[in-house]
Amino acid sequence: MKLKDPLPDMQKRSFLKKVLNGTIAGSLYLVYPMNSSGFEWPEQIPGVRDAYDIHARKFAFIVDITRCIGCGSCCVADKQEYNVPDGNYRTWVERYVKGFSDQIYVDCPNGGLDGYQTPRSDIKEEIRDTFFVPKLCNMCKEAPCVQVCPVGATFTTPDGFVLVDEKRCVGCAYCIQACPYSVRFMHPRTRVVEKCTWCYHRIRKGLLPACVDVCPTGARKFGSLQDETSEVYKILKGPGVLTVLRKEMGTWPALYYKGARMEVI
């Protein structure tokens, strides 16, 4: 007697399995709309994703010193976003301590990456005032670094950002000397100059700069000057006192400080 060939049955079973799998997978696709670009985060800067006119856009950055608690979130986020090599900082947080003799003590252990866990123990006099000052690129309108670059590798974009062309930079480091705010450094591996870009790649995708996004107290604010509902626009239009660093140098920074004492440089 010839046994029944098991093959057709098996085939039927595997066929049914495949059909079922396909149906379930297909229905899941309908339920979960997969985004093709991997990008469905909310637009944090309104209107950037629709149409970006590079000549019409203007942005401003405001650091509110009265709200900074020196946690170092911004420094951590910055290091993570760009894999900044150890010992170099695109942004950092300085601690200012003012004594009653008007002596200023500034320190910045590891750029604020590890936060500030202990108070300064080396100050003998009574302390009058303590505050944190986050530092980053000032995005000067009249940028000294752009003026000194011999190969046109550092430039100001029409929307007001000072960026570095990595392919064109020859690593002469003139700009590092020219920058009054010391925000530039030589990347130890690529030997080209790097600096804070206010996360230009994020802004153009409608996201806030990494440091602004992670700031838990809202000490760092960023926004478009075309958007009249943005916090930055309202602060700039309002009566509050805003200062820039090293105004006397005539660099016209787009980074403003709120609540900065006169000792901050």
Partner: protein, 177 residues
């Protein structure tokens, strides 16, 4: 020189013409494309700056797949804290909707260190309006717990007053709602 005046004039003009052409040729060979479109720089560098990959997500990018944590985190006093500050960047965890790696979770004394980055009273530059600070180990002594306690033994790290408020409700120290 056996050239006539006219011929010399033609030669000079021709020379200028040739030299100008050689100059333009070298300029076009040496200058990169798109140089000078917006100014004295390569305009394509702006495009390259835009194409830098985003490594840091936003809190909503994390909440998309972690609704349980999202619910607790959003309801608590720590709602403004970025997930990625403690856990690491989004790009180390997810790439094109696929999980690519596991992010670390802080434990034990690491948590206490992390909490005191912000909540340490000894660093005086922290105003009452912005953040509530505690002095260690006075806080542990005042709350009558062991000095070896970590912060997360009383405080939920995502919503610090979650357990405390619940305990107060149960013991009747606080009205519900």
């Amino acid at each position: 020189m056996g050239f006539s005046y006219k011929m010399r004039l033609i030669l000079v003009c021709l020379g200028i013409f040739v030299m100008a052409w050689v100059g333009f040729l070298f300029k076009s060979l040496l200058l990169p494309d798109s140089f000078g479109l917006y100014g004295h720089f390569r305009a394509d560098a702006i495009t390259e700056a835009v194409e830098v990959p985003v490594r840091h997500g936003t809190n909503s990018s994390c909440f998309k797949c972690h609704p349980f944590e999202a619910k607790i985190h959003k309801a608590g006093l720590h709602s403004t804290i970025s997930c990625e500050f403690c856990h690491g960047p989004y790009a180390d965890h997810v790439a094109v909707d696929k999980k690519t790696g596991t992010l670390p979770v802080k434990t034990g004394k690491q948590i206490t260190t992390l909490c005191l980055r912000c909540h340490n009273t000894q660093i005086m530059a922290r105003s009452e309006e912005v953040i509530k600070t505690v002095a260690m180990p006075d806080h542990l002594r005042n709350q009558q717990v062991k000095l070896t306690h970590d912060c997360n033994q009383c405080h939920h790290v995502h919503a610090p007053l979650k357990y405390i408020n619940r305990a107060k409700q149960i013991t009747g120290l606080m009205e519900k709602g």
